[in-house]
């Protein structure tokens, strides 16, 4: 179960792309928008390598890539090298880099040697060059300058209502309108929510009626999902959508191209539906349900229908999107309505956490409060702020729900109030200056930006460790004693030689370590023969049904 939940959130778009076959990659790289989006998803060094090769017509020796990398300490393992290998591995798994072996004649010795060369995928190179230089004429037919453009505010409100509705449904708060059946099926398919009956028949692919689906309950994965920022939430769902679409025999190239194209479209601009392929038109309806696209529907007297990408989709390929959570934008709307002054301070994190575990969050969104309530003990609510504190109980409750300490910390970090970030930044630069002034270069490399108080981070991690205190021992379980005398005698002896790890007098069971078992059996055979009662039954592991299985020993405090 634990493996599954971590896998869900680690399987990012990168891994999905990596595992695509080469033919699909080749198809994908024909579209400049897709190339741009994939480029943005790469590590920095991989991006640099691509730029290095982009305007090279020929292949370059592999050693040229190595020459760029610094080696700070000769004798240690070079962390830069590890990073480089990671980057190159990513490039190769995406089929962006190709190895070629070339026979080269050594200029001095005249010896023929094989040297590895690397070359950029030629299709990617052409498309990406076109994307940068604007040579491709593909998007040109997309623009129709209609005067009745839909305002950006409308689109923002529209997509956030849709998205918040889904999240509200997940946390189980009261909502006016249920999300559509497509959304509910996807939530169930992705394992974020489940029906009570799913425990017995876990078959997510079967279609169910909306009445049944409305009884969905949130799972551990769902709790983790809520703590992600909105961009990764959307990606998580889209990835599940991709997996589902494969089962429905949709063309993955079409689906991916559409998703990446959305990232390069312009907010508030209408695009004709006629440009889409049949697969993409089916997708369009699903994406409308998630709030990624607004579709005004068929307008009378206008045969070519338009669709409007929302902010959720235009920021898909950006790392830090314009709003961290849907709720902050709602806050922004409210504050805009109230006064123009607060406009500048909107659109940012809002959580302040002190070293004494007290938390203040400037929000009035029920959703964010509901999310915070997952791991915070709420104290008071004001018109624009809630206060609470991280307690052992509240964190344990969250941990029991399957949320990890890292997720809590990440959530708090990514939603931290700018004041906290500024403070941490100042502290870091002061420390850096100090360490540099005394020439302690090792310390300089180890310094990190600490947005949250370190005490809080450590404590949350310690609370998680409390739950992880499982120790395993190999040994034998002794049970099914015929009478109290045998049981007490063996138990006392075992206690004396210190081989008993666990005992239950009521059920006449105890657990003996692997090494101690033979000693105990010898003793048992001895006393039972000496006593002579019940016909000298010998104690062997087989008759006592010892179970050589690790016995979990939970420590509770």
């Amino acid at each position: 179960m634990e493996d599954q939940s971590s896998e869900l959130f680690k399987s990012t778009i990168n891994e999905y792309l990596d595992n695509l076959p080469e033919t699909v990659h080749t198809q994908l790289y024909k579209s400049p928008e897709t190339c741009l989006a994939i480029f943005r998803l790469l590590p920095s060094l991989a991006k640099f390598y691509i730029m290095l090769l982009l305007f090279q017509e020929t292949s370059i020796p592999y050693s040229d890539l190595n020459r760029w990398i610094k080696n700070p300490n000769m004798h240690h393992v070079n962390p830069n090298k590890i990073y480089q290998n990671e980057s190159i591995k990513r490039l190769k798994s995406l089929n962006l880099l190709k190895d070629i072996r070339k026979r080269v004649v050594h200029p001095q010795t005249g010896q023929k040697t094989e040297i590895p060369f690397v070359q950029l995928n030629p299709i990617f190179r052409t498309s990406f060059r076109n994307a940068l230089t604007g040579n491709s004429g593909k998007l040109s037919n997309l623009f129709d300058d209609e005067s009745d453009r839909i305002t950006i505010e409308f689109l923002d409100n529209y997509c956030l209502n849709k998205w918040e509705n889904i999240l509200h449904f997940m946390v189980g708060s009261e909502i006016k309108q249920l999300p559509s059946i497509g959304v509910l099926t996807l939530l169930r398919y992705s394992g974020l929510m489940e029906l009570p009956s799913d425990h017995y028949t876990p078959d997510g692919s079967k279609s169910l009626s909306i009445d049944t689906l409305s009884k969905l309950l949130i799972t551990q994965n769902g709790f983790q999902f809520l703590l992600q920022d909105i961009n990764s939430q959307i990606w998580t769902l889209l990835l599940q959508y991709l997996k589902m679409s494969e089962k429905l025999m949709m063309n993955p190239v079409d689906v991916l191209n559409f998703i990446f194209m959305l990232g390069s479209l312009e907010l508030g601009q209408g695009y004709p539906i006629t440009m889409l392929s049949n697969t993409q038109i089916i997708m369009l309806e699903d994406l409308v349900d998630y709030g990624l696209i607004y579709d005004p529907g068929e307008i009378e007297g206008n045969s070519n229908r338009n669709f409007y990408p929302t902010r959720l989709s235009t920021t898909l390929t950006s790392e830090s999107c314009n709003f961290k959570t849907a709720s902050t934008v709602i806050d922004q709307e409210i504050s805009n309505a109230n006064s123009e002054e607060t406009k500048n301070s909107s659109n940012q994190g809002s959580i302040i956490i002190e070293t004494n575990f007290k938390i203040y969050c400037y929000t009035s969104s029920p959703l964010q409060i509901a999310v915070l309530n997952l791991f915070i003990h709420m104290k008071a609510r004001f018109s624009n702020m809630v206060t609470g504190s991280l307690t052992r109980e509240s964190v344990r409750r969250a941990l029991m729900n399957g949320i990890t300490a890292d997720q809590i910390i990440n959530y708090l970090e990514s939603h931290a109030h700018p004041g906290m970030i500024k403070m941490a930044d100042e502290k870091l630069s002061k420390q850096l200056e100090y360490e540099q002034s005394i020439g302690n270069l090792n310390a300089v490399n180890e310094l990190k930006l600490e947005i949250l108080p370190p005490t809080v981070i450590d404590q949350v991690k310690l609370w998680q460790l409390e739950l992880d205190r499982i120790q395993t021992f190999k040994g034998y379980l002794y049970k099914d004693f015929t009478n109290d005398y045998e049981f007490e005698k063996l138990l006392n002896y075992g206690d004396e030689i210190g081989v008993i790890t666990w005992k239950d007098r009521l059920r006449r069971k105890f657990f003996v370590t692997l090494e101690g078992s033979s000693q105990l059996i010898d003793y048992a055979n001895r006393i039972l023969r000496k006593g002579g009662n019940s016909g000298g039954r010998s104690m062997t592991p087989s008759t006592q049904t010892p179970q050589p299985q690790p016995q979990p020993q939970p420590t509770t405090n």
């Binding site: 741009l36 920095s44 390929t317 940012q348 460790l465």
Partner: protein
């Protein structure tokens, strides 16, 4: 307890820091030298013209924006004719009417371009176009006035404007720009003697303090100041003799993001000319006089015997002693005996006596 704690708290080496590096937005500020006289020289030499450079530069800016969606670019021109240094992009009033900007840009750019690129490239080209159109008239006026022969470049002005812009962006509370890393790229074509030494040095020190690297792409003649500038700020200095493959330089050697600098070997030259320039003649000198008050460097003693920078009065007696012609020792006899070697000796002695102040 420690053993348990270690397992969880130990970070995987390289992992977290690199993840941060991948997501930090960065700001690229380009300072483009548009001195028309120098460009004319370059074009006449048949190496490169402004148009070719601009197309490469725009691709570079696009690539920078392609790295990360919260990346930003800014472009300044250093120009002596049209109000000195000028901010070309981002336009200050541009925020409100992107629609009009787009319409203009549609005229200039092919429309099949990524939206962000199209807006930025279009706006840059429009502005530069209007700037260049106004130059011929101004140039003619200047030449008619008879002072068009030597015009000081405004690189230092553009540099300080760029630094202030970076400072403003870094101080902003916008969470998108949090932890914004910045660097400056100077594309210079002018000679060293057009650079005002003091102000350039001051901007370099400012950049050093702000930990902003200054990369230099030098066309035309090699420059010692800009070498010093990039060296002091941990930047890259590249002198390009054959600018045909300019795009390759711009997208590799001059394209190293600040977050990648700890990892990548900078392709800069290590032998740097550290000579200073005379405050009066603007020439790079080997040996000179230094004002004891403000440390200003002089190759000649001014007529009024005052420091040109801090206006402190020099001691007249000292000056006359400095100005005194060095006495040539009567070495005539010796010279006859050992002609070849002594001749050189005399010359070198004369030379050093001229330059070195006589100790009091």
């Amino acid at each position: 307890m420690d053993a348990i704690a270690d397992r969880v708290f130990a970070d995987t080496p390289g992992g977290p820091t690199n993840r941060i590096a991948d997501e930090t937005p960065s700001l690229l500020t380009v300072i483009l030298d548009v001195n028309p006289l120098e460009w004319k020289k370059l074009e006449d030499a048949g190496t490169i013209n402004l148009k070719k450079l601009l197309s490469s530069l725009l691709i570079m800016l696009n690539s920078h924006l392609a790295l990360n969606s919260s990346n930003q670019v800014a472009l300044y021109t250093a120009n002596s004719f049209s109000g000195g240094a000028k901010l070309i992009y981002p336009k200050i009033e541009d925020d409100s009417d992107t629609a009009t900007a787009k319409k203009q840009s549609n005229l200039m750019m092919s429309s099949g371009m990524y939206r962000q690129f199209r807006i930025i490239d279009g706006s840059i080209l429009d502005d530069l176009n209007s700037l260049l159109r106004s130059i011929p008239d101004k140039l003619r006026n200047l030449l008619n006035d008879g002072q068009g022969t030597h015009i000081k470049g405004t690189l230092s002005g553009a540099l300080s404007m760029a630094l202030s812009y970076i400072n403003k962006s870094q101080k902003s509370i916008d969470p998108q720009q949090l932890g914004l890393k910045s660097r400056i790229l100077i594309i210079s074509i002018s000679d060293d003697n057009t650079l005002p030494y003091i102000s350039i040095m001051n901007t370099i020190f400012a950049a050093q303090k702000m930990k902003i690297s200054v990369d230099v792409c030098k066309l035309g003649n090699n420059s010692t100041f800009l070498q010093q500038a990039s060296d002091a700020t941990n930047g890259v200095y590249i002198y390009i003799k054959q600018p045909e493959g300019l795009i390759q330089y711009l997208t590799t050697a001059l394209f190293i993001d600040p977050t990648l600098r700890p990892i990548i070997v900078l392709p800069t030259n290590t032998s740097i000319d550290f000579r200073a320039s005379c405050f009066i003649t603007n020439k790079v000198i080997d040996i000179g006089y230094v004002c004891s008050v403000c440390l200003c460097i002089l190759s000649v003693i001014p007529q009024d015997e005052k420091c040109p920078t801090c206006h402190s009065k020099f001691d007249h007696n000292l000056i006359t002693r400095l100005k005194r012609k060095p006495k040539v020792l009567p070495l005539v006899k010796k010279k006859r005996k050992l002609e070849g070697t002594n001749g050189a000796e005399v010359d070198s002695e004369v030379g050093s006596n001229m330059g070195t102040p006589v100790p009091n």
